[in-house]
Protein backbone atom coordinates (compact mmCIF):
# COMPACT_ATOMS: atom_id res chain seq x y z
CA UNK A 1 0.00 0.00 0.00
CA UNK A 2 0.99 3.55 -0.62
CA UNK A 3 3.16 5.35 1.82
CA UNK A 4 0.79 8.21 2.03
CA UNK A 5 -2.28 7.53 -0.06
CA UNK A 6 -5.72 6.31 0.92
CA UNK A 7 -5.90 2.61 1.68
CA UNK A 8 -7.82 0.45 -0.72
CA UNK A 9 -10.13 -2.28 0.57
CA UNK A 10 -13.71 -2.95 1.46
CA UNK A 11 -13.66 -1.52 4.97
CA UNK A 12 -13.69 2.24 5.33
CA UNK A 13 -11.96 3.80 8.28
CA UNK A 14 -9.44 2.24 10.61
CA UNK A 15 -9.90 -1.41 11.48
CA UNK A 16 -9.63 -2.90 14.93
CA UNK A 17 -6.56 -5.08 15.25
CA UNK A 18 -6.52 -8.30 17.22
CA UNK A 19 -3.86 -10.78 18.28
CA UNK A 20 -4.76 -14.32 17.31
CA UNK A 21 -1.48 -16.25 17.37
CA UNK A 22 1.66 -16.27 19.53
CA UNK A 23 5.02 -17.92 18.96
CA UNK A 24 7.48 -18.07 21.85
CA UNK A 25 11.05 -19.18 22.44
CA UNK A 26 12.36 -18.37 25.90
CA UNK A 27 14.46 -19.69 28.75
CA UNK A 28 11.27 -20.74 30.55
CA UNK A 29 9.67 -22.57 27.69
CA UNK A 30 9.10 -22.84 23.98
CA UNK A 31 5.63 -22.45 22.57
CA UNK A 32 2.82 -20.43 24.06
CA UNK A 33 1.46 -23.28 26.19
CA UNK A 34 4.75 -23.92 28.00
CA UNK A 35 5.32 -20.19 28.33
CA UNK A 36 1.89 -19.68 29.90
CA UNK A 37 2.44 -22.47 32.39
CA UNK A 38 5.87 -21.13 33.31
CA UNK A 39 4.65 -17.54 33.74
CA UNK A 40 1.84 -18.74 35.97
CA UNK A 41 4.23 -20.84 38.01
CA UNK A 42 6.75 -18.01 38.32
CA UNK A 43 9.46 -20.20 36.86
CA UNK A 44 12.95 -18.72 36.54
CA UNK A 45 15.01 -19.80 33.53
CA UNK A 46 18.49 -18.78 34.70
CA UNK A 47 21.41 -21.06 33.91
CA UNK A 48 24.97 -21.11 32.67
CA UNK A 49 25.37 -19.80 29.15
CA UNK A 50 26.80 -22.38 26.74
CA UNK A 51 26.20 -20.82 23.31
CA UNK A 52 29.56 -19.07 23.52
CA UNK A 53 32.65 -19.51 25.67
CA UNK A 54 32.14 -17.65 28.95
CA UNK A 55 35.58 -18.48 30.37
CA UNK A 56 36.99 -15.54 32.30
CA UNK A 57 33.77 -13.52 32.55
CA UNK A 58 32.81 -12.46 36.09
CA UNK A 59 29.64 -14.51 35.71
CA UNK A 60 28.40 -16.96 33.14
CA UNK A 61 24.74 -16.84 34.06
CA UNK A 62 22.05 -15.87 31.66
CA UNK A 63 18.83 -16.98 30.05
CA UNK A 64 19.41 -19.38 27.21
CA UNK A 65 16.81 -21.11 25.06
CA UNK A 66 16.92 -24.88 25.50
CA UNK A 67 15.25 -27.66 23.60
CA UNK A 68 15.27 -25.75 20.32
CA UNK A 69 15.94 -28.06 17.40
CA UNK A 70 16.15 -25.84 14.34
CA UNK A 71 16.01 -28.76 11.93
CA UNK A 72 12.65 -29.85 13.35
CA UNK A 73 11.23 -26.41 13.98
CA UNK A 74 11.98 -25.07 10.51
CA UNK A 75 10.58 -26.42 7.27
CA UNK A 76 12.27 -24.25 4.66
CA UNK A 77 15.00 -22.16 6.29
CA UNK A 78 18.12 -24.29 6.42
CA UNK A 79 19.77 -24.06 9.84
CA UNK A 80 23.24 -24.45 8.31
CA UNK A 81 22.64 -21.35 6.18
CA UNK A 82 21.27 -19.02 8.83
CA UNK A 83 22.23 -17.58 12.17
CA UNK A 84 20.60 -18.37 15.50
CA UNK A 85 18.50 -15.19 15.72
CA UNK A 86 17.09 -15.77 12.22
CA UNK A 87 16.28 -19.35 13.16
CA UNK A 88 14.51 -18.10 16.29
CA UNK A 89 12.47 -15.54 14.35
CA UNK A 90 11.45 -18.02 11.67
CA UNK A 91 10.56 -20.76 14.16
CA UNK A 92 8.54 -18.41 16.37
CA UNK A 93 6.67 -17.11 13.31
CA UNK A 94 5.73 -20.64 12.34
CA UNK A 95 4.56 -21.28 15.91
CA UNK A 96 2.43 -18.11 15.82
CA UNK A 97 0.89 -19.16 12.54
CA UNK A 98 0.02 -22.61 13.91
CA UNK A 99 -1.28 -21.10 17.12
CA UNK A 100 -3.57 -18.81 15.10
CA UNK A 101 -5.01 -21.84 13.34
CA UNK A 102 -3.78 -20.55 10.00
CA UNK A 103 -1.58 -21.99 7.30
CA UNK A 104 0.89 -20.64 4.77
CA UNK A 105 -1.68 -20.70 1.98
CA UNK A 106 -3.91 -18.29 3.92
CA UNK A 107 -1.01 -15.89 4.29
CA UNK A 108 -0.05 -16.16 0.63
CA UNK A 109 -3.55 -15.27 -0.52
CA UNK A 110 -3.39 -11.91 1.23
CA UNK A 111 -0.89 -9.09 1.37
CA UNK A 112 0.91 -9.05 4.68
CA UNK A 113 3.54 -7.37 6.80
CA UNK A 114 6.51 -9.00 8.52
CA UNK A 115 8.46 -6.86 10.97
CA UNK A 116 10.97 -8.37 13.39
CA UNK A 117 12.60 -6.26 16.07
CA UNK A 118 16.11 -6.96 17.25
CA UNK A 119 19.02 -5.53 19.20
CA UNK A 120 21.85 -7.52 17.72
CA UNK A 121 20.55 -9.15 14.56
CA UNK A 122 23.16 -11.74 13.66
CA UNK A 123 25.99 -10.33 15.78
CA UNK A 124 26.53 -13.88 17.00
CA UNK A 125 27.62 -14.67 13.45
CA UNK A 126 29.99 -11.68 13.52
CA UNK A 127 31.45 -13.02 16.78
CA UNK A 128 32.20 -16.30 15.00
CA UNK A 129 33.63 -14.43 12.03
CA UNK A 130 35.88 -12.42 14.34
CA UNK A 131 37.19 -15.59 15.92
CA UNK A 132 37.83 -17.12 12.49
CA UNK A 133 39.52 -14.00 11.15
CA UNK A 134 41.85 -13.94 14.14
CA UNK A 135 42.64 -17.61 13.63
CA UNK A 136 42.93 -17.93 9.86
CA UNK A 137 43.01 -14.36 8.54
CA UNK A 138 41.04 -12.93 5.65
CA UNK A 139 40.05 -16.36 4.36
CA UNK A 140 37.39 -16.23 7.07
CA UNK A 141 35.29 -13.94 4.87
CA UNK A 142 33.32 -16.33 2.70
CA UNK A 143 30.75 -15.58 0.03
CA UNK A 144 27.79 -16.44 2.23
CA UNK A 145 28.87 -14.29 5.18
CA UNK A 146 27.38 -11.00 3.90
CA UNK A 147 23.84 -12.40 3.78
CA UNK A 148 24.26 -14.41 6.96
CA UNK A 149 25.37 -11.43 8.99
CA UNK A 150 22.82 -8.95 7.57
CA UNK A 151 20.32 -7.72 10.13
CA UNK A 152 17.55 -7.91 7.55
CA UNK A 153 18.03 -11.66 7.66
CA UNK A 154 15.64 -11.93 10.63
CA UNK A 155 12.52 -10.71 8.85
CA UNK A 156 13.63 -12.38 5.66
CA UNK A 157 13.97 -15.67 7.53
CA UNK A 158 10.29 -15.45 8.47
CA UNK A 159 9.33 -14.69 4.86
CA UNK A 160 11.41 -17.58 3.50
CA UNK A 161 10.29 -20.04 6.14
CA UNK A 162 6.65 -19.43 5.26
CA UNK A 163 7.25 -19.24 1.49
CA UNK A 164 5.82 -15.72 1.15
CA UNK A 165 6.25 -13.11 -1.57
CA UNK A 166 3.47 -10.47 -1.50
CA UNK A 167 4.70 -9.24 1.84
CA UNK A 168 6.47 -6.10 3.01
CA UNK A 169 9.28 -7.10 5.33
CA UNK A 170 11.78 -5.27 7.48
CA UNK A 171 13.83 -5.76 10.57
CA UNK A 172 13.68 -2.96 13.13
CA UNK A 173 16.90 -2.48 15.05
CA UNK A 174 15.85 -0.07 17.79
CA UNK A 175 17.68 -2.11 20.39
CA UNK A 176 15.73 -3.23 23.45
CA UNK A 177 12.45 -1.54 22.49
CA UNK A 178 12.45 -3.09 19.02
CA UNK A 179 9.73 -5.66 19.73
CA UNK A 180 7.21 -2.95 20.57
CA UNK A 181 8.29 -0.92 17.52
CA UNK A 182 7.56 -3.95 15.36
CA UNK A 183 4.15 -4.48 16.96
CA UNK A 184 3.38 -0.81 16.33
CA UNK A 185 4.36 -1.10 12.66
CA UNK A 186 2.18 -4.20 12.22
CA UNK A 187 -0.71 -2.54 14.08
CA UNK A 188 -0.61 0.45 11.72
CA UNK A 189 -0.41 -1.78 8.64
CA UNK A 190 -3.45 -3.85 9.60
CA UNK A 191 -5.42 -0.96 11.07
CA UNK A 192 -5.11 1.06 7.87
CA UNK A 193 -6.00 -1.90 5.66
CA UNK A 194 -2.61 -1.85 3.94
CA UNK A 195 -2.10 -5.43 5.06
CA UNK A 196 -4.56 -8.19 5.89
CA UNK A 197 -2.24 -9.66 8.47
CA UNK A 198 1.03 -8.93 10.22
CA UNK A 199 3.61 -11.22 11.76
CA UNK A 200 5.52 -8.99 14.15
CA UNK A 201 7.64 -9.23 17.26
CA UNK A 202 11.28 -9.62 18.12
CA UNK A 203 14.19 -12.04 18.24
CA UNK A 204 17.72 -12.07 19.59
CA UNK A 205 20.35 -14.69 20.32
CA UNK A 206 22.92 -14.63 23.11
CA UNK A 207 26.29 -13.41 21.90
CA UNK A 208 29.67 -12.54 23.30
CA UNK A 209 29.73 -8.94 22.13
CA UNK A 210 26.66 -7.87 24.08
CA UNK A 211 27.51 -10.03 27.09
CA UNK A 212 30.96 -8.37 27.28
CA UNK A 213 29.44 -4.89 26.93
CA UNK A 214 26.95 -5.30 29.76
CA UNK A 215 29.60 -6.97 31.93
CA UNK A 216 31.98 -4.05 31.32
CA UNK A 217 29.24 -1.62 32.34
CA UNK A 218 28.85 -3.58 35.57
CA UNK A 219 25.21 -4.16 34.82
CA UNK A 220 25.20 -7.97 34.99
CA UNK A 221 23.72 -9.51 38.11
CA UNK A 222 25.86 -12.24 39.70
CA UNK A 223 22.95 -14.55 40.49
CA UNK A 224 19.46 -13.44 39.47
CA UNK A 225 17.77 -10.45 37.92
CA UNK A 226 15.56 -8.78 40.54
CA UNK A 227 13.45 -6.04 39.01
CA UNK A 228 12.44 -3.30 41.48
CA UNK A 229 14.15 -5.04 44.39
CA UNK A 230 15.96 -2.90 46.95
CA UNK A 231 19.09 -5.00 46.47
CA UNK A 232 18.96 -5.35 42.71
CA UNK A 233 22.35 -5.10 41.03
CA UNK A 234 21.65 -5.65 37.38
CA UNK A 235 20.24 -7.64 34.51
CA UNK A 236 20.90 -11.04 33.06
CA UNK A 237 21.24 -11.23 29.31
CA UNK A 238 18.89 -13.60 27.62
CA UNK A 239 17.73 -14.77 24.24
CA UNK A 240 14.51 -15.80 22.63
CA UNK A 241 11.80 -14.75 20.27
CA UNK A 242 8.22 -13.59 20.48
CA UNK A 243 6.16 -13.38 17.29
CA UNK A 244 2.56 -12.21 17.18
CA UNK A 245 0.05 -12.77 14.43
CA UNK A 246 -2.16 -9.70 14.05
CA UNK A 247 -5.24 -9.46 11.85
CA UNK A 248 -8.34 -7.32 11.69
CA UNK A 249 -11.17 -8.04 14.08
CA UNK A 250 -13.40 -8.62 11.06
CA UNK A 251 -11.05 -11.28 9.72
CA UNK A 252 -10.68 -13.01 13.07
CA UNK A 253 -14.42 -13.08 13.73
CA UNK A 254 -15.17 -14.30 10.22
CA UNK A 255 -12.96 -17.30 10.62
CA UNK A 256 -13.92 -17.95 14.24
CA UNK A 257 -10.41 -17.36 15.51
CA UNK A 258 -9.40 -17.53 19.13
CA UNK A 259 -8.55 -13.93 20.07
CA UNK A 260 -5.98 -13.31 22.80
CA UNK A 261 -6.36 -9.56 22.93
CA UNK A 262 -6.92 -6.43 20.94
CA UNK A 263 -4.01 -4.12 20.18
CA UNK A 264 -5.39 -0.78 21.29
CA UNK A 265 -2.57 1.54 20.32
CA UNK A 266 1.01 2.49 20.94
CA UNK A 267 3.38 5.40 21.45
CA UNK A 268 6.92 6.06 20.27
CA UNK A 269 9.34 8.78 21.21
CA UNK A 270 12.99 9.50 21.80
CA UNK A 271 14.63 10.94 24.92
CA UNK A 272 17.22 12.64 22.73
CA UNK A 273 19.36 13.14 25.81
CA UNK A 274 21.82 10.36 26.63
CA UNK A 275 22.98 7.24 24.75
CA UNK A 276 22.62 4.85 27.70
CA UNK A 277 20.70 6.58 30.53
CA UNK A 278 16.88 6.79 30.34
CA UNK A 279 15.10 10.09 30.94
CA UNK A 280 12.07 10.16 33.22
CA UNK A 281 10.02 12.93 31.60
CA UNK A 282 10.47 11.46 28.17
CA UNK A 283 9.43 7.96 29.26
CA UNK A 284 6.35 9.50 30.90
CA UNK A 285 5.55 11.29 27.64
CA UNK A 286 5.80 8.03 25.73
CA UNK A 287 3.33 6.40 28.12
CA UNK A 288 0.93 9.32 27.61
CA UNK A 289 1.29 9.05 23.83
CA UNK A 290 0.42 5.36 24.00
CA UNK A 291 -2.60 5.92 26.25
CA UNK A 292 -3.81 8.67 23.95
CA UNK A 293 -3.29 6.52 20.85
CA UNK A 294 -5.32 3.76 22.50
CA UNK A 295 -8.01 6.12 23.87
CA UNK A 296 -7.39 4.65 27.31
CA UNK A 297 -7.41 6.59 30.57
CA UNK A 298 -4.82 5.73 33.21
CA UNK A 299 -7.47 4.47 35.65
CA UNK A 300 -8.60 1.89 33.08
CA UNK A 301 -5.21 0.16 33.03
CA UNK A 302 -5.10 -3.00 35.17
CA UNK A 303 -1.48 -4.03 34.72
CA UNK A 304 1.83 -2.65 33.56
CA UNK A 305 4.36 -5.03 32.07
CA UNK A 306 7.42 -2.95 32.78
CA UNK A 307 10.71 -2.83 30.92
CA UNK A 308 12.11 -3.65 34.39
CA UNK A 309 15.67 -4.66 33.60
CA UNK A 310 16.74 -4.92 37.22
CA UNK A 311 19.44 -2.25 36.88
CA UNK A 312 19.49 0.56 39.44
CA UNK A 313 18.90 3.31 36.91
CA UNK A 314 16.28 1.75 34.66
CA UNK A 315 13.94 0.62 37.38
CA UNK A 316 13.96 3.84 39.39
CA UNK A 317 13.54 6.00 36.29
CA UNK A 318 10.81 3.82 34.85
CA UNK A 319 8.76 3.75 38.04
CA UNK A 320 9.15 7.53 38.45
CA UNK A 321 7.87 7.98 34.89
CA UNK A 322 4.93 5.65 35.54
CA UNK A 323 4.07 7.59 38.70
CA UNK A 324 4.16 10.86 36.77
CA UNK A 325 1.32 9.50 34.64
CA UNK A 326 -0.58 7.41 37.19
CA UNK A 327 0.02 9.39 40.38
CA UNK A 328 -0.41 7.25 43.49
CA UNK A 329 -2.89 4.90 41.79
CA UNK A 330 -0.33 2.83 39.93
CA UNK A 331 -1.66 -0.47 38.62
CA UNK A 332 0.25 -3.61 39.49
CA UNK A 333 3.59 -3.39 37.72
CA UNK A 334 5.58 -6.51 36.95
CA UNK A 335 9.00 -7.25 35.48
CA UNK A 336 9.00 -10.57 33.63
CA UNK A 337 12.76 -10.25 33.08
CA UNK A 338 13.20 -11.87 36.49
CA UNK A 339 11.92 -15.05 34.83
CA UNK A 340 13.18 -14.80 31.23
CA UNK A 341 16.13 -12.42 31.50
CA UNK A 342 16.67 -9.48 29.20
CA UNK A 343 15.96 -10.91 25.78
CA UNK A 344 16.91 -7.63 24.09
CA UNK A 345 14.95 -7.09 20.88
CA UNK A 346 12.58 -9.90 21.85
CA UNK A 347 11.95 -8.43 25.30
CA UNK A 348 8.99 -6.17 24.62
CA UNK A 349 7.49 -8.71 22.20
CA UNK A 350 7.62 -11.40 24.90
CA UNK A 351 6.30 -8.78 27.35
CA UNK A 352 3.39 -8.15 24.99
CA UNK A 353 2.67 -11.86 24.75
CA UNK A 354 2.82 -12.18 28.55
CA UNK A 355 0.40 -9.24 28.73
CA UNK A 356 -1.99 -10.89 26.29
CA UNK A 357 -1.82 -14.14 28.26
CA UNK A 358 -2.64 -12.22 31.44
CA UNK A 359 -5.73 -10.84 29.72
CA UNK A 360 -6.72 -14.14 28.15
CA UNK A 361 -6.17 -16.40 31.14
CA UNK A 362 -6.90 -14.02 34.01
CA UNK A 363 -3.65 -14.01 35.94
CA UNK A 364 -0.79 -11.66 36.61
CA UNK A 365 2.67 -13.10 36.04
CA UNK A 366 4.95 -12.33 38.97
CA UNK A 367 8.14 -10.36 39.41
CA UNK A 368 10.44 -13.24 40.31
CA UNK A 369 13.47 -13.40 42.61
CA UNK A 370 11.97 -10.65 44.72
CA UNK A 371 13.02 -10.02 48.32
CA UNK A 372 11.98 -6.50 49.24
CA UNK A 373 10.71 -3.72 47.04
CA UNK A 374 12.95 -0.69 46.61
CA UNK A 375 11.36 2.26 48.43
CA UNK A 376 12.21 4.25 45.29
CA UNK A 377 9.99 1.86 43.30
CA UNK A 378 6.82 2.08 45.37
CA UNK A 379 4.49 -0.16 43.38
CA UNK A 380 2.93 -3.60 43.80
CA UNK A 381 5.31 -5.75 41.78
CA UNK A 382 3.36 -8.98 42.45
CA UNK A 383 6.38 -10.66 44.04
CA UNK A 384 7.32 -14.24 43.23
CA UNK A 385 3.89 -15.81 42.79
CA UNK A 386 1.33 -15.12 40.11
CA UNK A 387 -2.12 -14.02 41.19
CA UNK A 388 -5.49 -14.57 39.55
CA UNK A 389 -6.93 -11.29 38.32
CA UNK A 390 -9.48 -9.86 35.96
CA UNK A 391 -7.13 -8.14 33.55
CA UNK A 392 -8.76 -6.01 30.89
CA UNK A 393 -6.10 -3.53 29.77
CA UNK A 394 -2.32 -3.87 29.95
CA UNK A 395 0.43 -1.38 29.23
CA UNK A 396 3.63 -2.99 27.91
CA UNK A 397 6.82 -0.90 28.11
CA UNK A 398 9.97 -1.09 25.99
CA UNK A 399 12.86 1.29 26.69
CA UNK A 400 16.10 1.15 24.77
CA UNK A 401 19.63 2.50 24.70
CA UNK A 402 19.60 5.61 22.58
CA UNK A 403 16.48 6.78 24.44
CA UNK A 404 14.17 4.94 22.03
CA UNK A 405 10.93 4.33 23.88
CA UNK A 406 7.93 2.32 22.72
CA UNK A 407 4.81 1.55 24.73
CA UNK A 408 2.01 -0.75 23.53
CA UNK A 409 -1.50 -1.01 24.95
CA UNK A 410 -3.38 -4.30 24.79
CA UNK A 411 -6.97 -4.87 25.83
CA UNK A 412 -9.41 -7.69 26.25
CA UNK A 413 -11.43 -8.27 23.13
CA UNK A 414 -15.15 -8.56 23.75
CA UNK A 415 -16.73 -10.66 21.06
CA UNK A 416 -20.02 -8.73 21.01
CA UNK A 417 -19.83 -5.46 19.20
CA UNK A 418 -20.57 -2.52 21.41
CA UNK A 419 -19.09 -4.17 24.47
CA UNK A 420 -15.63 -3.11 23.68
CA UNK A 421 -13.22 -2.76 26.55
CA UNK A 422 -12.99 0.88 25.65
Amino acid sequence: MSAAGIPAGPVAGPRRVVLTGCGVLSSIGNGVAEFTTALRAGRVGTGDITVFDTTGFPSRRGHQVHGFDAATALHRVRPEHSGRATQFAAAAARMALDDAGLDEAWLRERRGTVVVGTTDGEVGELDLLTRSALAIGLGAFTGAALSRTATGSLALGVVRELGLSDVESSTIATACAAGNYAIGAGFDAVRSGRSAWALVGGADALNRKTFAGFARLGLVAPDECRPFDADRVGLLTGEGAGLLLLESEESALARGAHIYAEVLGYGLNCDASHPTTPEENSVARCIRLALESASVKPDEVDLISAHGTGTRTNDTTEIAAIRQVYGDEVPRTVGVKGMIGHTMGAASALGAIASALAIRHGFIPPTANHRSTDPDCPVDVVPNASVPADVRIVQNNGLAFGGNNAVVLLGRHESHRGESVR
Binding site: R216, T276, T277
Partner: protein
Protein backbone atom coordinates in the same frame (compact mmCIF):
# COMPACT_ATOMS: atom_id res chain seq x y z
CA UNK B 1 45.90 -9.07 48.28
CA UNK B 2 46.51 -5.35 48.38
CA UNK B 3 48.79 -3.35 46.20
CA UNK B 4 51.78 -2.66 48.36
CA UNK B 5 53.71 -0.70 45.79
CA UNK B 6 52.89 3.01 45.68
CA UNK B 7 50.23 4.07 43.21
CA UNK B 8 51.70 5.36 39.96
CA UNK B 9 50.14 8.82 40.15
CA UNK B 10 51.48 10.19 36.83
CA UNK B 11 50.11 7.12 35.03
CA UNK B 12 46.69 7.60 36.62
CA UNK B 13 46.72 11.32 35.73
CA UNK B 14 47.66 10.49 32.17
CA UNK B 15 44.79 8.03 31.80
CA UNK B 16 42.26 10.47 33.21
CA UNK B 17 43.42 13.46 31.17
CA UNK B 18 43.40 11.30 28.05
CA UNK B 19 39.87 10.02 28.60
CA UNK B 20 38.44 13.38 29.66
CA UNK B 21 40.50 15.11 26.96
CA UNK B 22 42.05 17.64 29.33
CA UNK B 23 45.34 19.46 29.46
CA UNK B 24 47.36 18.24 32.43
CA UNK B 25 46.97 21.51 34.35
CA UNK B 26 43.17 21.39 34.08
CA UNK B 27 42.97 18.30 36.28
CA UNK B 28 43.39 18.95 39.98
CA UNK B 29 43.05 16.48 42.83
CA UNK B 30 39.50 17.53 43.52
CA UNK B 31 38.18 18.85 40.20
CA UNK B 32 35.03 16.86 39.53
CA UNK B 33 34.94 14.61 36.46
CA UNK B 34 31.27 15.12 35.77
CA UNK B 35 30.54 18.65 36.99
CA UNK B 36 33.84 20.29 36.09
CA UNK B 37 35.04 18.23 33.14
CA UNK B 38 31.84 17.25 31.38
CA UNK B 39 32.27 13.49 31.80
CA UNK B 40 29.31 11.12 31.99
CA UNK B 41 28.76 7.70 33.55
CA UNK B 42 30.55 6.01 30.66
CA UNK B 43 33.58 8.22 31.28
CA UNK B 44 33.86 6.87 34.83
CA UNK B 45 33.64 3.30 33.54
CA UNK B 46 36.29 4.06 30.95
CA UNK B 47 38.59 5.45 33.65
CA UNK B 48 38.03 2.37 35.80
CA UNK B 49 38.54 0.05 32.85
CA UNK B 50 41.74 1.69 31.62
CA UNK B 51 43.27 1.84 35.10
CA UNK B 52 42.46 -1.82 35.65
CA UNK B 53 44.02 -2.77 32.36
CA UNK B 54 47.09 -0.55 32.41
CA UNK B 55 47.93 -0.82 36.11
CA UNK B 56 47.02 -4.49 36.41
CA UNK B 57 44.57 -4.12 39.25
CA UNK B 58 40.96 -5.03 39.89
CA UNK B 59 38.59 -2.33 41.09
CA UNK B 60 35.25 -3.58 42.39
CA UNK B 61 32.37 -2.34 40.29
CA UNK B 62 30.64 -0.79 43.29
CA UNK B 63 33.60 1.59 43.63
CA UNK B 64 32.43 3.22 40.42
CA UNK B 65 30.27 5.78 42.20
CA UNK B 66 33.27 6.87 44.28
CA UNK B 67 35.36 7.81 41.25
CA UNK B 68 34.38 11.48 41.24
CA UNK B 69 37.82 13.12 41.12
CA UNK B 70 41.52 12.23 40.96
CA UNK B 71 42.08 12.01 44.72
CA UNK B 72 39.10 9.66 45.04
CA UNK B 73 40.54 7.45 42.32
CA UNK B 74 43.88 7.33 44.13
CA UNK B 75 42.09 6.41 47.37
CA UNK B 76 40.28 3.55 45.69
CA UNK B 77 43.52 2.40 44.09
CA UNK B 78 45.30 2.32 47.42
CA UNK B 79 43.18 -0.64 48.41
CA UNK B 80 42.70 -2.24 45.00
CA UNK B 81 43.64 -5.84 44.41
CA UNK B 82 46.19 -6.98 41.89
CA UNK B 83 44.85 -8.86 38.94
CA UNK B 84 45.34 -12.56 39.06
CA UNK B 85 46.05 -13.95 35.64
Amino acid sequence: MNVNTPVDVPAVRAIITDILELDDDELTGTSLFIEDHGADSLGAIEILSRIEKELGVVIPQDALVKLVHLDAVLDVLATAERRTP
